[in-house]
């Protein structure tokens, strides 16, 4: 081994605690890259493989009823590689031991063999035998949630008839990786199941023999996507087509994509923070080491070592610290990555989801980690090697202090000399003080940004379930009903208030922008649902349309501007409506008009697509029983159940996440404060020892050293909380998707908690250094030549 490398190794052993503190901060950055980067890629590649192998559709469309020969016309569109027609219906399920009705989505499968597209992968059992109308395959998570095995039975209210359904197999489908029921926002495998049954039987029940109501299209590589969808709409329009949509708007895919986008946002935002902090720490520690070894550098130069050789020596030290951080980060990343894969398996149902440690993810994270360390070193080293050997070997001139305007204030304030020393030190190295302060502040910011998610979820729940939606249940029908159905629902047992909602699938257009959504018409003066602005004021779509703020932004619409409303289900009828207001909404991107407006636009009398109801909870069982016996009802959603599953999911992850995030934030604070204190101690050891000899107590001496850090921490906390708010805002923007928006809500408790963690971590680091001051060998310190 070269002598210089031996020196390096010994330097590193001497600096082990500081090196470790830096390595840990770096490790967090690397771990997150490995963990989230790996999870993102695992998830994405598993999805792509699953989609590819099981031929997931590129375009989806629903119609009321189209004859089978329409399929041939769709297949003939240039660019269409594959098309499959099927029957799909929502039904109420009656499951033993479950009072509340569940919702099932019936999907037809060919009588012989498996579907051509959206092919479910059988995990157990087999496909229904030909002619066996009561045999079904259900999605695996539904079976698991109910403890169903092969041969178990449940009942479905299929077109008004209660039928026994026998499970002959379980399956996983690319269409339902994220299995979410209609009108729901969270997966609830007890209340929603996918049921595949033989097509002939299903078609017969719904009077769809020789016809279909669902279309899936696979595109060729060179297909003109927009043209294909335009032609499909044209073909389906006479049959009640509601407008075909691309894969990106398919609900399961959209949720999965949202998760992937979140992950890649996190990978882009979080690791750089940790890497930058560690670069700064490396710079700080190496800068100090180089200052201490100034003469040794001069000597090496005198001995004939080139600048590059000396520089590389110090850069290697940084790289060694970086390598340590990378190794620790890899370890945690691998461990955490497995954990994430398990977490994802709860929400995303793949037949296989393996967390693969991709070499490239590891390589990139290592490269980033080492580069951060080296970057921190380079600036510190460059200055040192530039000194001429004669200058480097002479002891450095005493640091020059100056008295400025502020110093006159000091005299005026009659500060103690020890406080003056703190003040001078801060003003002598303002950049270093500022950077240290920023480092501590970042720790607070990371903490706020991590904790705010829980505040945001609370806010989201409050908005969605208290302020905007107060109904207890949502009852949906198989197809729109006349308005008299509201009264019918009102007569169901336990229903106290019933309100109707009429909705129609539409395409909104403004200039070059266009979006698919559903246009909702609620009765004026609704008690159960409210449209509120972001400020919390009531907004009514009187004389126009009210849009979700995000939708308006996507369509580049301002108040008063006209938006074109297209009704694909009505043969492409279109009309212009002015935007009269924005609504705050966390889920989906809704558009709202009054029933009169919709009636005018659609050219038909107002109808009802679903009803909201408040119920007497004591009579819920009677209501559920009645609903199960009512043929027209296609689904019932309990808001309380949604809220509960939402809460459960958050609670499940909250404890673990808070601990991990606090640890991450604390690591930054410890890394920064500990290193800053150690460097201060090293730089000022003689000064402090002199004071001790002059009769200052350990406490008074510590005050000079730690007082400075205390000042920096106290300044850093509010700055950090503010930075945290900015970071949270950036995350909110980054996480924004078509499906949901996370509100920027940060409670005082979050700020207090962040301040606490940072304050505590700083105090802990200070305590370690305080012990060192106590152990300082005064005589030895005074003897050293520096």
């Amino acid at each position: 081994m070269q002598s210089l490398d031996r020196k390096l190794l010994r330097d590193m052993t001497r600096l082990w605690s500081q090196s470790l503190a830096i390595a840990l901060v770096l490790a967090v950055g690397v771990a997150i890259m490995v963990m989230m980067g790996g999870a993102e890629r695992s998830l994405r590649e598993t999805r792509d493989t699953f989609y590819e192998r099981n031929r997931f559709g590129d375009i989806f469309a629903t119609v009321t009823r189209a004859p089978m020969d329409v399929l041939g016309r769709v297949e003939a569109i240039p660019g269409v590689r594959l098309a499959e027609a099927s029957v799909s219906k929502y039904v109420i399920l009656d499951i033993n031991g479950m009072a509340a009705p569940a919702t099932g989505q019936l999907i037809s499968v060919p009588s012989a063999g498996v579907p051509k597209m959206n092919v479910p992968t059988l995990s157990r059992g087999q496909w229904p035998a030909s002619g066996q109308t009561g045999q079904v395959v259900v999605n695996e998570s539904f079976a698991t949630a109910h403890g169903f095995g092969i041969g178990d039975q449940f009942h479905g209210i299929i077109n008004g008839q209660r039928r026994a359904l026998t499970i002959v197999g379980t399956a996983l489908s690319p269409e339902f990786i994220y299995t979410i029921g209609p009108g729901s926002i969270m997966p609830d495998d007890r209340r929603f199941g996918v049921i595949w049954m033989e097509g002939t039987a299903l078609s017969a029940v719904y009077n769809l023999t020789g016809a279909f109501n669902t279309l899936t299209v696979g595109l060729g590589r060179d297909a003109n996507r927009d043209e294909v969808i335009r032609q499909i709409d044209l073909i389906l329009s006479p049959y009640g087509g509601t407008g075909a949509y691309f894969r990106k708007d398919q609900i399961s895919n959209a949720f999965l994509q949202g998760e992937l986008d979140q992950l890649s946002t996190m990978v882009k935002v979080v690791p750089p923070i940790f890497l930058i902090i560690s670069a700064f720490l490396v710079n700080m520690v190496l800068g100090r080491l180089i200052a201490l070894e100034r003469e040794q550098i001069g000597l090496l130069k005198a001995l004939g070592y080139y600048k590059g050789e000396i520089g590389w020596h110090y850069v290697k030290l940084a790289i060694a610290i970086g390598a340590l951080g990378v190794a620790i980060g890899w370890g945690f990343g691998l461990w955490g990555g497995r954990g994430m894969a398990e977490l994802y398996a709860q929400f995303f149902h793949f037949p296989y989801l393996v967390y693969v440690p991709y070499p490239s993810v590891y390589a990139i994270s290592a490269l980033a980690g080492l580069a951060a360390a080296a970057l921190g070193a380079v600036t510190a080293v460059r200055k040192a090697v530039a000194l001429s050997p004669a200058v480097a070997m002479a002891p450095p001139a005493p640091a020059r202090y100056q008295s400025g305007v502020a110093d006159r204030m000091i005299h005026f304030m009659k500060m103690r000399q020890t406080s003056v020393m703190i003040w001078r030190s801060l003003t002598r190295w303002p950049i270093r003080a500022a950077l240290t302060m920023l480092g501590i502040a970042t720790s607070a910011a990371v903490m706020v940004a991590a904790l705010f998610m829980f505040d945001a979820m609370d806010e989201l729940l409050d908005k969605s379930f208290v302020q905007l939606n107060r109904q207890d249940v949502v009852i949906s029908f198989a197809g729109d009903r006349p308005r008299s159905v509201i009264e019918d629902v009102g007569h169901l047992p336990g229903v106290m208030v019933a309100e109707g909602v009429w909705s129609m699938p539409v395409r909104l257009k403004h200039g070059q922008f266009s979006r698919r959504t559903s246009l909702e018409a609620r009765d004026p003066g609704s008690e159960l649902t409210h449209l509120l602005t972001e400020e919390g004021d009531q907004v009514t779509p009187e004389g126009g349309i009210v849009l979700t703020r995000r939708l308006a932004r996507q369509l580049d619409l301002d108040l008063g501007e006209q938006v074109t409303v297209l009704f694909p289900a009505l043969g492409g009828t279109s009309a212009q409506v002015p935007v009269v207001g924005y609504a705050a909404q966390s889920f989906g991107m809704g558009a709202y008009v009054t029933p009169e407006t919709l009636s005018q636009l659609a050219g038909q009398a107002p109808r009802v697509s679903l009803t909201n109801a408040s119920i007497d909870q004591d009579k819920s069982e009677a209501l559920f029983a009645a609903v199960k016996a009512t043929p027209a009802v296609a689904g019932l959603v309990e808001m309380a159940a949604i809220r509960k599953s939402f809460n459960d999911t958050i609670a499940q992850n909250a404890g673990m996440m808070t601990t991990i995030n606090s640890l991450m934030a604390a690591l930054i604070a410890i890394g920064v404060v500990y290193n800053a204190a150690r460097i201060q101690l090293s730089e000022r050891a003689r000064e402090l020892a002199s004071l001790r000899i002059l009769g200052f107590s350990r406490g008074e001496v510590s005050y000079i050293l730690l007082g400075e850090l205390a000042v920096l921490t106290i300044v850093a906390i509010p700055v950090g909380l503010l930075m945290g708010q900015g970071l949270a805002a950036a995350m909110v923007t980054g996480f924004d998707s078509d499906l949901y928006a996370i509100p920027l809500a940060i409670t005082r408790a979050t700020y207090v908690r962040a301040a606490w963690v940072v304050g505590l971590a700083s105090a802990l680091s200070a305590a370690v250094v305080w012990r060192r001051i106590g152990q300082m060998d005064l005589v030895a310190v005074m003897k050293t030549r520096e």
């Binding site: 002598s3 001995l303 070997m393």
Partner: protein
């Protein structure tokens, strides 16, 4: 035990004029620290002979260290020219000077300047690893009488021992010149003598041109040539007809 030495150069057998190892033309050096300007050298002209043991004497601030730094390629002159043999030092780049130091010069400093985290052997190896035809670190340490202390860290050695490690480190590359800035400045007389004996031995055995800065006037008696500095210039040069051994120096 005194022994007399005649003042013949090691190349004395040759009749041609003695070879110059260094010579300068009007070397000046001005230091600027803030508003203060110090003229350290005021047009120095000097010739140093290859193989000689030269002593530079003078009060502190007289310019002797500055000259040594320039000759050793540690510092740039403000004006004038300086040569090592026929290579002009004053036109060399930083990289050229590094190359020159690496290949030709050994340094010994007043405060030893050992790397504290390396043992005696490793401190010497620091140089032998980058030199073209070095002697083994062990041999260099044997030459200064430290064969038994090779694996000790600087903190475990006395000042005299540390300085001898520094000498071993300087000679291990077999330099043509050995430049010593106050090598005994921090030592007591007994260890100082040991260090001087080591230097004298190297000069005699290896023929290394040696320049020693000192403000201890007694040391001049062991030199071939003594150059006195005063006020940034050479006051006078004397050539000793007879030299005495380091052990006889009056400290």
């Amino acid at each position: 035990m005194a022994h007399e030495m005649t003042n013949s150069t090691p190349s004395g057998l040759v009749e041609t004029p003695p070879a110059r190892v260094f010579h300068t033309e009007d070397i000046t050096k001005i230091y600027r620290t803030g508003a203060v300007e110090v003229q350290a050298l005021r047009g120095v002209n000097v010739e140093l002979i290859a193989g000689e043991f030269t002593v530079l004497l003078g009060a502190s601030g007289s310019g002797k260290s500055t000259l040594l730094n320039i000759l050793g390629g540690l510092d740039h002159a403000s004006g004038g020219r300086a040569w090592f043999r026929d290579q002009e030092l004053t036109v060399m780049s930083d990289r050229g000077l590094t190359r020159y130091r690496r290949d030709h010069v050994g340094f010994v400093f007043q405060f030893y300047n050992l790397v504290p985290s390396l043992t005696a052997r490793e401190n010497v190896a620091l140089v032998t690893e980058i030199a073209s035809e070095p002697m083994p670190p062990e041999e260099a340490l044997e030459r200064v009488g430290l064969g038994h202390r090779m694996d000790h860290f600087p903190a475990e050695m006395s000042g005299g021992e540390q300085q001898r490690v520094a000498i071993a480190r300087a000679i291990a590359k077999r330099p043509e010149v050995l430049l010593c800035d106050e090598p005994t400045g921090a030592l007591d007389s007994k260890t100082g003598v040991q260090v001087l004996e080591a230097l004298e031995k190297i000069n005699a055995e290896l023929g290394t041109s040696t320049i020693v800065i000192t403000h201890n006037a007694g040391i001049q008696a062991m030199a071939h040539r003594v150059i006195r500095f005063a006020d940034g210039n050479i006051a006078d040069v004397t050539v000793n007809d007879t030299r005495i051994a380091p052990s006889e120096i009056e400290w």
